[in-house]
């Protein structure tokens, strides 16, 4: 197969970038989109031109590294990760536009590589159960109904790629954050921090500059894990319940020795 590629080139964060056009020929329809880019980079090497920078690692759709906007869709038209997009999904001879994930909160580092550490900081704000390593209760002492476990898993499978942010006209991270809050707040282990988690993670989203949710639903539509908008409803409910609740007095600090 042959394609014309219009690829975003940008040397560094903060600099101007532009699209550069490349022709690729003789591409096997069974090769993945990233393998097609590998072949292009191989050729650029021979031509002594700078190769195109892009992120990828597992190349099986689970690590969340790959992050291309293909023909305007984060991860491409098939609602799978960029690495699981195959050239057989495109029409022979097509012109394909390739961009990095676009959002102020995900600045470009080079070409198609972006900085997604804002998502890590949202997790730092409360996306965990505050426990430490050591003796723990037997898991069967806290049964979880299989239906609840299923609902939890549907959210917990988020791969943290950031496609939801890139797709959202507001640059909102509500699907990402909602998935984590749904995962932890539905489980018995997540109850003690249920309210602070919702409040702190939402506050951190605001601080990072992610936009608000106005129910476009683009996030869920591009999510390679098909995470449902229900997690956003859940996050909104959790946040409201926590926000209206009378705040307890600042708990006394535990005095260490």
């Amino acid at each position: 197969m042959n394609f014309k590629l219009e690829i975003w080139r940008q040397f560094e964060s903060g600099q101007d970038g532009a699209f550069e056009t490349f022709e690729v020929t003789g591409i096997d329809p069974e090769s993945s989109f990233l393998e097609m880019l590998d072949q292009l980079n191989e050729r650029l090497g021979h031509e002594k031109k700078r190769s195109i920078a892009f992120d990828s690692d597992c190349r099986e759709g689970i690590c969340g590294s790959c992050s291309l906007v293909i023909d305007g869709y984060p991860h491409g038209p098939r609602q799978v990760t960029s690495c699981q997009t195959y050239m057989r999904d495109f029409i022979d001879g097509a012109t394909i536009k390739v961009e990095p994930f676009r959002s102020n909160t995900l600045p470009v580092i080079r070409d198609l590589v972006t900085d997604r550490s804002a998502l890590d900081r949202v997790i730092q704000a409360g996306g965990y159960v505050s426990t430490t390593t050591g003796p723990q209760p037997d898991p069967n002492s806290m049964p979880v109904a299989p239906a609840v476990q299923e609902e939890v898993m549907d959210a917990a499978i988020c791969i943290g790629c950031g496609a939801c942010v890139a797709a959202c006209p507001n640059g909102s991270a509500m699907l990402f954050t909602g998935a984590k809050v749904t995962h932890l707040n539905l489980l018995p282990q997540g109850q003690p921090e249920r309210e602070s988690r919702a409040i702190n993670m939402v506050n951190q989203m605001d601080e990072e500059g992610f936009g608000g949710c106005t129910n476009y639903g683009e996030c869920s539509r591009v999510c390679p894990q098909e995470i449902s908008l229900d997690v956003i409803s859940m996050l909104n409910r959790e946040y409201r319940k926590a926000a209206v609740k009378k705040k307890p007095k600042t708990p006394p600090r535990m005095v260490a020795q």
Partner: protein, 636 residues
């Protein structure tokens, strides 16, 4: 060199407790002054960094990915073993211990394996407490399933994404400690050297992969959790970035590399489809619970699988290993698939494939049953191949998957360099010559949560002067790293690192893969040296060392794979027996099974680096078996 594994005295059941009772402690108020470096943020590294951070130590955690959550542990699918006996089958620590010893073909250390089996129970408790959503039975109790090489159901799982959920548990614990100010994460940083002062590890040299800056970091202890080296085969189930660089550079400074030839070729992967291909995708071993593996009895069969009648199907695992059938251990299942394909019975375009068929399971239990267990795996298969496994059997073929070999460590997981620890897949570990399914997650988390935090603490109670990054040892290490990078850029040849990687991968898979011979390995040694020579005379990378340069990162890793591959061939050549994943064609029984030589090779081979001075030097650690009976491994 005498290798002392430092195994505590006493009965095997109490060795670890004996060690714990006597190990040195650092008081809570003094921990903040102690620094630990952890390389890698997978299950082992993430768990160790989070645990040490929570204890109050100052931890620096490094990963080459853009976020610690992306480490390749995330791709583990099937599950994690634990001797909890929730299924009431009479499972026990001893049984898990025995299965692991036998699964590893009696080439692992008894005391380590026992400790692993003991800790397996705590791991499940820990993960659940973190909010890891394991599958549940109707009453809300944890569900378990069966995996290869065992006759009990002790594998806990989260759909087909167990590795992801366990890693996110560790990642979240890590980020919790980042928020608490105990851990600093350095993402997009790659370790390129370990810094030694008086023969002890005092820090590392890393490269910031965004700016290209070379950075120095000093610490009171260094923990390598940088994963395995299976990408030495080029095509494998590992991630693109998985590499041997951290452990190899430690090896070059004197850390011995143990059993490098013990690599696992996983039986159920999607077959290769073209030369452009960059990696192979694993389909979870759990599929073998309900899928039946077969090939047509007739060579060059052209009928589609559905039209081949039962009598003309060769269920080779069920026929050869009736007791375990499709759940035979990985090394055995892989070799059996290779044998039938060598006989010309393979299917698919290349003839290197066998069927994994769910027809009978769907007929017996209904589509919904199969869907409930494997939906995401079926979708993944369909996405990659375009075939629907509900309608037509999957095609699978073995692919390189895991490295049982790695840095030699003692019972405290310390390498032969004091202050340098290796955990998870990076060490030579507890899996002997073959790892059983669902044991990698168990071992990585046992090392990370429950062993390394104590043994590293114990090391830090030792009195030694702390060394600052101004020390001349850091100057020398930085110079070495910069010289290596400059050398890569200066070659100025015409070929990409990937082309060399692919070439060496072919050699390794062909001659040091599922079947090995003295002749082939000797050839491979020559080939590897030739490729290394060409690499250093015809490599091309993008210019620019003080910037993001992915072609340079890659070349750097390939330069180490080339040397690691050579060491694997040395090891495979020296081990004149067949055991587990190491199958020497000269040493097989009459019915084609592995023929072990316990008299000469019931030992660990740990190699010492010699560089240009000559061939590496082997050192032996004799294995003793007191709690398990050495027996011919049979799954028939």
């Amino acid at each position: 060199m005498k290798l002392d594994a430092k195994i505590p005295e006493g009965p095997i059941e109490t060795k670890w407790q004996t060690w714990l009772d006597a190990h040195g402690l650092v008081g809570p108020r003094n921990r903040g002054a102690k620094n630990v470096i952890v390389i890698g943020t997978g299950l082992a590294g993430g768990a160790a960094a989070a645990t040490l951070g929570a204890q109050g130590f100052k931890v620096k955690s490094f990963c080459f990915q853009d976020s610690p959550r992306r480490a390749h542990s995330i791709a583990a699918q099937g599950g994690i073993n634990a001797a909890k006996d929730y299924a009431n089958e009479g499972d026990s620590v001893r049984r898990l211990f025995t299965d692991t010893m036998k699964g590893g073909d009696f080439r692992s250390r008894e005391a380590n394996v026992w400790r692993l089996a003991q800790l397996s129970e705590n791991i499940i408790d820990q993960a659940v407490a973190q909010g890891v959503p394991f599958n549940r039975e109707y009453g809300g109790q944890l569900a378990t399933r069966s995996f290869g090489g065992v006759l009990v159901q002790r594998t806990f799982y989260s759909r087909g994404q167990t590795g992801q959920q366990l890693l996110l548990g560790a990642y979240q614990a890590l980020e919790h400690q980042v928020a608490a100010g105990n851990v600093s994460v350095y993402n997009r940083h790659e370790m390129l050297d370990v810094v030694l002062v008086n023969g002890e590890a005092h820090g590392v040299i890393v490269r910031n992969l965004v700016t290209g800056e070379i950075e120095r970091h000093a610490a009171d202890a260094v923990v390598l959790a940088s994963g395995g080296y299976t990408n030495v085969y080029f095509l494998s189930t590992n991630a693109m970035g998985s590499n041997v660089t951290a452990t190899w550079r430690a090896h070059k400074h004197g850390a011995l590399m143990a059993n490098p030839c013990f690599t696992q070729i996983h039986p159920t992967c999607i077959p290769q489809s073209g030369d452009y291909q960059s990696k192979l995708t694993l389909m979870s071993e759990s599929l073998r619970n309900d899928g039946r593996i077969w090939v047509p009895r007739k060579p060059n069969e052209e009928r589609p699988p559905a039209e081949i009648p039962e009598a003309e199907r060769y269920y080779f695992l069920e026929e050869r290993y009736p007791a375990f059938g499709n759940l035979a251990p990985r090394d055995i299942a892989s070799r059996a698939a290779k044998v039938v394909c060598d006989e010309g019975l393979g299917v698919g375009g290349t003839g290197r494939g066998v069927y994994l068929d769910f027809r009978d399971s769907i007929n017996d239990h209904g589509k919904a049953f199969v869907e409930g267990r494997y939906q995401n795996l079926f979708e993944m298969y369909q996405r990659i191949t375009g075939d629907d496994p509900y309608e037509t059997p999957m095609m699978i073929y073995p692919a390189p998957h895991y490295a049982m070999g790695g840095l030699w460590v003692d019972y405290e997981l310390q390498t032969t360099i004091p202050g340098l620890f290796a955990i998870g897949e990076a060490n030579f570990s507890d899996h002997g010559a073959n790892r059983l399914g669902a044991s990698a997650l168990m071992q990585a988390l046992a090392d990370g949560y429950f062993i390394a935090p104590h043994t590293v603490t114990n090391f830090m109670t030792k009195k030694r002067d702390s060394v600052s990054t101004d020390d001349s040892a850091f100057d020398e290490a930085q110079d070495r790293v910069e010289a290596h990078i400059a050398a890569l850029v200066d070659v100025g040849g015409s070929r990409s690192a990937q082309s060399f990687h692919r070439e060496m991968g072919h050699v390794m898979l062909d001659k040091c893969g599922m079947a090995r011979t003295a002749e082939g390995l000797t050839e491979a040694l020559g080939e590897m040296r030739r490729i290394k020579g060409e690499f250093w005379s015809d490599l091309r990378v993008d210019p620019g060392v003080k910037e993001l340069n992915q072609s340079l990162d890659y070349a750097n890793r390939v330069s180490d794979f080339l040397e690691m591959g050579e060491l694997m061939c040395h090891d495979a050549l020296r081990r004149e027996e067949s055991c587990g994943g190491h199958f020497r064609e000269e040493y097989e029984t009459e019915d084609g099974e592995a023929l072990r030589d316990d008299e000469h090779f019931a030992k660990v081979t740990a190699w010492q680096y010699q560089g240009d001075a000559g061939d590496p030097i082997p050192h032996d650690e004799q294995l003793t078996f007191e709690d398990v009976k050495l027996a011919t491994r049979s799954y028939k």
